[in-house]
Symmetry: C2
Subunit: 359 residues, 2 copies
DNA sequence: ATGAAAGCGCTAACAC
DNA sequence: GTGTTAGCGCTTTCAT
């Protein structure tokens, strides 16, 4: 173990070889744990490695092997804990299999997503986990196919695909939200989302509708889908509240929950007194605020596990039709959802009268 | 542009060369924009590239050049928006200079941090941006030096270092918090943190103390530093409240703010009526909750810019003593901080009586 | 203006 | 058991 300053050239396998008095090939064998090397030479190599502070260049090795021990991850963003946790989990799982994970953010841009896929292709990654920007119709999955890359899609459901996908059981989750809202006596619910092409979002909407109308045919379900960004949604919600007053909001995604809370603040409304709120996506802060915010929690680690499993099955050469894996969510009701008085026993359509106290 | 299935071998520079009827060397020149190539051949090469869907293997190129166009980022975690935003910013900045960023999480483990530094070393990255685990005394910076790697530390102040560092002006920020708290009439403040070795935290404490005692010599400042993890802090805070009742808490880090909020909930306390709260680190949710939470906001993008600037200056060969860069924070007061009645005019030491309303 | 040759650091046949 | 040889895909003198 030698202290090194700024080295001009790092020692290579040749240096180790000559110091150990063997050939580079032997060093390579020792380093890979091939057992057919004479014990004495194994020792000499190890000594040389130690003396020279030698470390193998994995890229050079991979180059020769024509097979990169890297898997790529492309996520829309890293600013919210969902994808942060996702990447962390993927990293751990990939490393467990001897691969390094390189993550990149598409920053919600389809163009950048495409560039990143090309970069991963150029890097000859063994596989890529792609969390597509917004729509799963995106060019991303097409590119993956076009390049013959092995990949799996996460956080989006399958469309037509020849690609394995891992996502959350949106239908069941939404149905469960509907069930709980109906049971709590809510008769008018607003679903809040962005009008992207995402099938996931539409599944959330449709299953909510279906479940709700089954459990309470009279329930009124509004859907507010703003095009574009969060600002548009904020404006749309403000307008909506000018004319309607649902007893609960079911936000279809995390930012929607924030938008709802913002608008509540602006109007001086409080959960659950004035309105109830439950959102898709959980976050750490949601349980410490007052009121705590009800949420559909996605099993991030499970999704990551599934994704990496499927990916490596493909990397290992499995040939079989693409599968769409669905992981179940948990719906965690918290203080932001109030119970309405006697569900419609006297045909009443009055406003909230939660049993929960505010303060 | 040809549609490819699973390719057995991607076309290499040789394939392009032979298709274009030139040598690989010429292709390489064309690809690098060397101007001394005959226009006709330039065209032929481009045509061949197009026809074969050729893409250069950057790792092979880097290998030959003995210089990897990669910079590494090592962060403690990606689950909170701070480091997520940091990595996103670093990625953008690195790419602007033609480098790819590979990020990895040390998961708050010094051991893993060391392993990651070694991996970056093995990868021959051009430089690394390291956000050290907890203590900046960590082995991380030592390893960086030992390997002669060029790197910069972020989010931690300089200790003894021969390494450039970029951090936040903790002293000014804390002094400003003290000023605002004193001005709001607070006379007893609890500082809440983890007892890691971090100089940053101690700076925050010391400057708060100093500023506070200057502005109001009678102010009582308690400091609660729990060893280990967040659970320990939660317990310590619960105990502390058994005996003391400050009028405000200044949380020294994000998780502390969550712990404080948790404990407030458990006790049924509300901000700012029962107690005020301001925390180091801002988050998106803090402005939409009720009450909104006051926070010291760190200029993440600025820090990233500084870090990348310094890093590349070193990569480009600059030799000069390491510098410690300090970026100023903004202190954003929000509803969680209340104003106490007439600051001690009649020697009163009564509890909160905020002018802000709760609901 | 171009190409042959050498080589970045490594691995894998295949002889010996 | 071990070394020789021949690359992986690229760049870069250096002749021509």
């Amino acid at each position: 173990m030698r202290h090194a300053g700024k080295q001009l050239r790092r020692s290579s396998i040749h240096d180790v070889a000559s110091r150990a008095g063997v050939s580079p090939a032997t060093v390579s064998k020792v380093l890979q744990g091939v057992t057919t090397v004479k014990a004495e030479n194994v020792q000499r190599v190890h000594d040389a490695v130690e003396a020279l502070d030698y470390r193998l260049d994995p890229f050079a090795a991979d180059l020769r092997r024509s097979r990169r021990r890297i898997i790529g991850a492309i996520v829309p963003e890293l600013e919210s804990e969902f994808f942060g946790s996702m990447v962390t989990a993927l990293e751990r799982l990939a490393e467990k299999r001897g691969y390094a994970l390189v993550a990149a953010t598409s920053r919600e841009s389809e163009k950048r997503e495409a560039e990143l896929i090309e970069r991963m292709h150029d890097w000859r990654v063994a596989g890529v986990v792609l969390a597509p920007v917004r729509s799963e119709k995106g060019s991303g999955t097409a590119l993956l196919k076009r390049y013959g890359m092995t990949g799996v899609l996460v956080d989006r459901v399958m469309t037509d695909d020849t690609l394995d996908t891992v996502s959350v059981d949106n239908a069941s989750a939404s149905a469960e939200v509907a069930r709980q809202l109906v049971e709590a006596g809510h008769a008018h619910v607003l679903l809040l989302g962005l009008s992207d092409e995402s099938i996931a979002i539409h599944t959330r909407i449709d299953s909510f509708r279906k479940a709700a109308s089954q459990l309470d045919p009279t329930m009124k379900v509004d859907v507010l889908l703003a095009g574009g960004d969060v600002t548009a949604l904020r404006a749309a919600l403000a307008t909506y509240f000018g004319e309607h007053k649902p007893t609960a909001i079911y936000s279809l995604f995390l930012k929607g929950t924030l938008v709802a809370l913002t608008e509540f603040r602006r109007r001086g409304w409080h959960c659950p007194n004035d309105i109830s709120l439950v959102g898709f996506d959980d976050a750490e802060w949601m349980q410490v605020t007052y009121p705590s915010i009800a949420a559909v929690v996605q099993p991030i680690d499970k999704m990551a596990e599934q994704a990496v499993d499927m990916l490596f099955r493909r990397i290992d050469g499995l040939e079989e039709p693409a599968k769409a894996h669905l992981e179940p969510c948990k719906v965690v009701m918290r203080e932001s959802v109030g119970r309405m008085r006697q569900h419609r026993i006297e045909g009443e359509e009055t406003m909230a009268d939660p049993r929960h106290h505010q303060r």
